[in-house]
Symmetry: C2
Subunit: 152 residues, 2 copies
């Protein structure tokens, strides 16, 4: 569409940039939610229950912080819980958990493939995973599939 891309008026460039920042901002807001959902799913799978104290310990925050955020998850239809009875995921929560977990694994595997050490890959993935678009995720998968494997 555009031979004139580099003479785009400043106002238009600003709009683009503002949109990019707005998108990063909303991903940032969703990142914690994804972390909680992922951890709850893990605990349900490994222990059969997800208790606020365990969730808090995994995140490294006070249990009250976890309780407050769990209330938000409930309000947003991702989890349900009755007092003193542990936390469970709704269908929407489970769907998010599946998506988030798959993405996490892809990002870790990708980083390792390009030569990042496993421990560092885990740390960086924890931050990066929330900001990777479908398109970039596909590129990661394509790359993993095409790369030679060193051991396993």
């Amino acid at each position: 569409m555009n031979l004139r891309e580099d003479v785009a008026p400043a106002a238009e460039r600003d709009l683009d940039e503002a949109a990019r920042h707005a998108s990063a901002r909303s991903a940032r807001a969703g990142a914690l939610t994804e972390d909680y959902v992922e951890i709850i799913a893990d605990l349900l799978e490994s222990d059969g229950e997800a208790r606020p104290t365990d969730i808090a310990r995994r995140l490294g925050v006070a249990h009250t912080t976890a309780i407050k955020t769990i209330a938000r998850l409930k309000r947003d239809g991702l989890a349900h819980a009755k007092p003193y009875r542990g936390v469970f995921l709704t269908e929407a929560g489970q769907a998010m958990a599946r998506r988030v977990r798959a993405r996490h694994q892809t990002v870790v595997a990708f980083l390792r493939t390009i030569g990042v050490r496993p421990e560092v890959a885990e740390i960086d993935a924890e931050g990066i995973e929330h900001y990777v678009s479908e398109e970039t995720l596909s590129a990661f998968e394509r790359f993993i599939a095409s790369a030679p494997r060193d051991s396993d």
Copy 2:
């Protein structure tokens, strides 16, 4: 110390995971700061001055939000400004700007190299860049250097 790494007690695994989350949390907290510093540096370079209204427009937020965050940058020794006189970066702010800009370019170039479209690379980089460790950044650079270039 550890042949028994995979029988690491649950408490220890939790500590590791908590540390990873804590690290992601603090990177999250620094992300906005880096965005501001990067934008201020851009504006100083292109326009010779960085005015709160322009910064706000680039970020897509109200000017009051920008003013409040600029006050935080000042408090943290990254910027200085006198009322109605625009914003400038301290030495620390300039150093951060250089680092952030270089990292941003590396991330964008890397994403494009693995086949992500330019517009999407820009969007994803805006989120990803704040969470990339030195080690991962090096891996990106190594990869870019070793990859065949398609045009340029």
